[in-house]
Symmetry: C2
């Protein structure tokens, strides 16, 4: 006799479309007669061990649709990274609540949690189906063409750079925009999709996939400024030197560390400010401005890719179908099948779990400070419909009267 109870939770950093996946699970699950209750855990795995559940079955479909279109994690999230003991606690609670299907929406850490919980259930001979649903603005999950959440964040970054490029052209100077991404540069590289005219910025893009050299950076900036009379730069927060030391910790006097011992990169404007200071002091340029896109890039309401929304919803729905009709646990992945079309596939959890994808070499220009056309081709359809377009005057010059003589 089946309990008919399923549980869905959201982990890690929020995205603009993670609620689409959660709602995809909730609504698709209710189409199965066996499902009696759809629970949501508040604040990810933390809410599971605390038995902090809400009953999504009691939500109206109208409100769920409203939540689906709302950015950030409606159930709440957590930065907890469960170890074996923590996962055993999770399993204990799932069993106590007779939960038979567990869906966890998150990145590679979350997929590893699902993997361990799945193993615990197997060892205990408890009939639990555990499915990982992909999500991350960093686009760093292996086995996926791309991940839900990335496209909307990429769209924000592209639109932001299209705008600051126009601002920088109006009041010329040097602009440094720092974008999220510790190991993978996909989101920073998305800045290139804000370019339209050949002399548009970003003129320089610095990715964590390439070692950052301060002297070369300054030389690049100088060359660009001399050529265009201005310079727009996209920098990943995760840039590091050849030895892997984050540039932020090289330049900053004090840095904060997260619970995993990593340097805290987001939530501070320090890297942009430090790079601006280097440019001002070493190159002598005056109008040097830095922005850190911070939390806006992952949570801004009203800048979302419709393609991303649709896919985020579908991975949630497919997860439920795999759980209900399938006999194995796994991670739902996105496969590109055409230009542009996708299909979804369930892969074993250990294929995705704990692994990090970085930008492929074919996506990075040989000079290391630009993207390739292959990357533009890859990213463009993900940004969705209705991308704003920038126009400029064609500037027919008028003959001088006074100074012409």
């Amino acid at each position: 006799m089946s309990s008919g109870k399923i549980l869905v939770a959201q982990g890690g950093g929020p995205t603009a479309v993670i609620n689409q996946s959660m709602v995809g699970v909730a609504l698709e699950a209710r189409r199965f007669h066996d499902v009696k209750r759809v629970y949501g855990a508040r604040h990810g795995v933390r809410g599971i061990v605390d038995e902090d559940f809400v009953d999504l079955t009691q939500e109206t479909s109208h409100n769920l649709e409203g939540v689906a279109a709302t950015p950030s994690s409606a159930l709440g999230s957590t930065r907890d990274k469960p170890d074996l003991k923590y996962c055993q606690e999770i399993f204990k609670v799932l069993r106590a609540h007779e939960i038979e299907h567990f869906f966890y929406i998150g990145g590679n850490d979350s997929s590893d949690t699902v993997r361990i919980v799945s193993e615990e259930a197997h060892k205990a001979n408890y009939p639990l189906r555990s499915i990982h649903i992909p999500k991350t603005i960093d686009n760093d999950l292996v086995a996926n063409d791309h991940t839900p959440g990335f496209a909307s964040a990429a769209r924000f970054v592209a639109q932001a750079f299209a705008g600051v490029n126009l601002d920088n052209a109006a009041l010329p100077g040097i602009y440094v925009g720092v974008v999220m991404g510790r190991h993978a540069g996909f989101l920073t590289a998305a800045a290139a999709l804000g370019k339209k005219f050949p002399d548009d910025g970003p003129h320089l893009i610095y990715l964590p996939e390439r070692a950052f050299d301060l002297a070369k950076f300054l030389a690049d900036v100088k060359t660009t400024y001399e050529r265009y009379g201005r310079c727009v730069i996209a920098v990943s927060e995760g840039i590091h030197d050849a030895a892997g030391v984050p540039i932020l910790s090289m330049l900053a006097k004090t840095v904060e560390h997260d619970p995993h011992g990593n340097v805290q990169l987001s939530g501070t404007g320090a890297l942009a400010d430090l790079l601006c200071e280097e440019i001002k002091s070493k190159l002598g340029y005056k109008r040097v401005r830095g922005d850190t896109f911070g939390y806006l890039q992952r949570s801004f309401i009203g800048c979302v890719s419709d393609v991303d929304q649709r896919e985020a919803r579908e991975v949630g729905e497919k997860a439920v179908q795999h759980a209900m009709w399938g006999a194995v646990d796994g991670s739902v992945t996105i496969k590109r099948t055409g230009y542009y079309s996708v299909d979804y596939e369930l892969v074993p959890l250990n294929v995705v779990a704990g692994k990090t994808r970085v930008m492929e070499d074919e996506f990075i220009a040989a000079n290391g400070t630009d993207v390739t056309d292959a990357f533009r081709l890859y990213l463009r359809p993900l940004l969705g419909s209705g991308m704003p377009d920038a126009f400029r005057l064609r500037q027919a010059a008028v003959a001088k009267v006074l100074t012409a003589k």
Copy 2:
């Protein structure tokens, strides 16, 4: 015999809709048979003294419409603040090019430039009609209900806070968002329009209209955190102590000054970082994150108020009508006539020139850290149609099984 030449220029910080005004001038002017050439000066008054003109008459109306919908100043801008001698240079060039109508789109400094140029023409008995067209995201022009450019920036700020509030609810902590505005807090106050549910952030708003006290700030944050388990804060970059000293210069070790001797506030994440550091070190909270909205708030492509677009276009058109049909120079202003409707009025240049409006007391809550309903009523229609809406789960709790015992 009229030369039929008019000149339009854009000054100061770009906005999302300043090109609407420029295109409004260009297209409306061509409906007058007397107008033979519409020139644009590149980079504001700097382009006038340099005789750096482009012929907008040669632009297609299609391209002009594309430019109108593009943020930032398509003609380029300048931070030059002309004195009497500079204005005399401007006048000299206008006369040399037989320009009979001069339109300058800008803030209060720009209106002062128009005022002096107008006086010079009058003294020289040269038939020049000079019209100032309002523009500023700061909303700090007197005699205007509001200024073109403000509404779109306000919409960005409201949408940004709606998003970071959701992010902060998912991963609770303290968030500081720094918004532009040296003297006027309108744009920072717009953060309040991102709130929907009663416990939504921003929970605290700090405006330059009220003296900032660090001890009170920390006490406010503590009270809010203890109440909601999190705290979202909107801070104007222009906050200062009771003596008028900018908080940035009190907390920072080094500050940059602009050509007018003011502390450089934008283009650095320092204020957000310094406030976060105070919260961490004095209150002991761990997850404290700061963002500086920087240039995104005034130049982001794809976040614009349709009301703002329409009004920015209309002030450009009305400027031309006043210039062609009227006998006096002046500044075009926006008057609110209903909820929501506006009309435009030409006022003498010295009414607007060089004056700064700040937020009216009736718009600021008695506690000094919130806005009033009067402000919400004032701002809401300006944000335009299609504002995104945030939904949340209603969270029906599930009974605990393990810990209930």
